[in-house]
């Protein structure tokens, strides 16, 4: 037997309390699992789900118009108001439209950027680009929204750029809202698509070309189906974040209101928390509907 110069025989592990606990836990995998999961499950259950449930319950109460306090009498009035009131219908459709357009714009912009990052750029440039995509997230939301307000103003940089060609800035309104929101959520859409493309082996692209597939066919038949779940994941971010937003539309949206503004007004100025809760249920229902639709297409099967 070879013995190392220093040391001599390796001592047996010492019998400490920590060691006994480790031994006990390694023999009781169920106990180990419950210790591991109890804290996060507590968080998820109490803070997350209970808060959502409280929202739902609040929507079924009313506010005493005279005293302004919440009375805990059960009623569907708020829900009915939200579903039938023409203001709520208009704002819901507007919010939905903005969310869809923002998502489409983001996916269309993110796809080529993510493809370049994952499949074309060198390793070095890949790192630089990931940082560049993440960098806007370091700045405050408000600062970025106000920056766009200045960019889109009547004497802003957009106006200056397009004026020689006879154009003018879109000004404040829904187009400005779409532009600003699309800018704000772009990193959240690029990153999942980039990660999805990273997982597509280069050899699959080569195999497609080798079998006679031109760039178009390769993208349509091989790349898109494989990164579809990643696109869906990215679109869920931009779609749901837009549905809940109310600050951007306040800053660059002109007189337009989105669902978030109605919630905000009802919580604050109108002091009608139950109605605000009922309005807040709309985006939740829409997102659930979106997820269900996505699930039906089978896009989440490969996740």
């Amino acid at each position: 037997m070879l013995q190392p110069e220093s040391g001599g025989p390796v001592p047996a592990p010492r019998d400490t309390g920590a060691r006994r606990i480790s031994v006990f836990l390694s023999r009781h995998p169920r106990l180990r699992l419950s210790l591991l999961l109890s804290a996060p499950l507590f968080w998820l259950g109490l803070v997350y789900i209970v808060a959502l449930a409280a929202l739902l319950i609040t929507a079924l109460w009313t506010v005493d118009t005279f005293t302004g306090t919440i009375t805990q009498t059960w009623t569907l009035d708020n829900i009915v108001t939200v579903l039938t009131g023409s203001l709520y219908q208009t704002v819901t459709l507007r919010t939905l439209g903005v969310a869809v357009v923002v998502t489409v714009v983001d996916v269309l912009v993110a796809l080529p950027i993510a493809f370049y990052m994952a499949k074309v750029a060198s390793t070095r440039w890949q790192r630089v680009l990931v940082i560049a995509v993440l960098m806007p997230l370091w700045a405050s939301y408000l600062v970025k929204a106000y920056a766009w307000r200045s960019v889109l103003s009547s004497d802003g940089i957009v106006d200056w750029l397009v004026a020689p060609f006879g154009g003018q800035t879109p000004g404040y309104g829904l187009p400005a809202t779409v532009i600003t929101l699309a800018y704000l959520w772009l990193p959240y859409v690029i990153l999942p698509i980039y990660a999805g493309l990273e997982r597509v082996p280069d050899s699959l692209l080569e195999a497609s070309g080798d079998l006679g597939g031109r760039t178009g066919s390769t993208l349509r038949l091989v790349v898109l189906p494989m990164i579809w779940p990643a696109i869906i994941a990215g679109s869920i971010f931009s779609f749901s974040l837009t549905l809940g937003d109310y600050i951007t539309v306040n800053i660059v949206g002109g007189a337009n209101q989105m669902l978030g503004n109605l919630v905000y007004t009802n919580v604050g100025a109108a002091n009608n928390l139950p109605l605000a809760a009922a309005i807040a249920l709309i985006p939740i229902v829409i997102i659930f509907g979106y997820l269900a639709a996505v699930r039906r297409t089978g896009a989440l099967d490969n996740l």
Partner: protein, 352 residues
Amino acid sequence: MSVDRPAIRLRGLTKSFGAGNAVDGVDLDIVEGEFFSMLGPSGSGKTTVLRLIAGFEQPTSGTVSLQGEDVTDRAPFDRDVNTVFQDYALFPHMTVLDNVAYGLRVRGVGRRERRERARAALDTVRLGGFGDRKPGQLSGGQRQRVALARATVVQPKVLLLDEPLGALDLKLREQMQVELKELQRELGITFIFVTHDQEEALTLSDRIAVFNEGRIEQLGTPAEIYDHPISPFVAAFVGTSNVFSDELSLRVLGRGGIHSVRPEKMTVARLESPISGDRSAPGILAEVIYLGSSTRIIVDLDAGMRVVVQEQNDARRVGDEERGARVRVAWSDLDTVTIVADRHADSLDPTP
């Protein structure tokens, strides 16, 4: 065989990555219908040559011609060659049938016809009933056959195979070797096979190019490569060889130059036993390794060299318990291959 219009012609093919040349001025003609192997250790440039032929890489200089036509500047989808990838590169989101039909689909073949032809291709690789499965549900050998069917269904002029058997276990590999050979005979198209496994190359090929450091070290039939290696590298890489340097050749063989003797051509005898062959050298028995059908014996020659001998198992052979004993290694001078001739006496060279 048309010699003037080979299936593949490479002229001065060079590919540089950064500082070094991965492929360094390769000239090669591959004959129509040939089973051609490119053999070499990893990093020898064989896979790069394959990728240059397929069009996945652009050469730094030189040309690639396919049946007399210069295709150097053409994209992979414009070349009539198809590749079986090392990792098979099957599309995971498509069924096996759609994978095989892919090449026909992007060429605009109608749905009914392409499914029919894909089914026929799956039948030839004996995967008739597997069309509806996803690649993830198949074993390694089955995926390998799907990749073969997918590459051959579009009837390429040349099929490129990049270490296609590397990921399979030994038994399956041997079975697939036979199937590959049969498939090639059946289809009658040129196969270019890249491998680092010298046994596989010797078994399958009509001709072999041995690659080393981006160049072709030797080109020939398996028998030529194995029996008459032209460099110490080929002698050592293809099979095992006992290579005698110039100095050792003088001491052991009595003539200069570089020579090699295959282990299976040598025998080991105890000092007192009669020896077979007209060459022998004394030494000390260093190791006896039992291999089942044969035994590998390692002897440290007194001349200052370690030789490997492979003997059939019989009663006369030396045993493990004789380790350290003095023995003689014997062989026939006819089995001595001259790699580099004696500069002083060329006429004594026994090999043609």
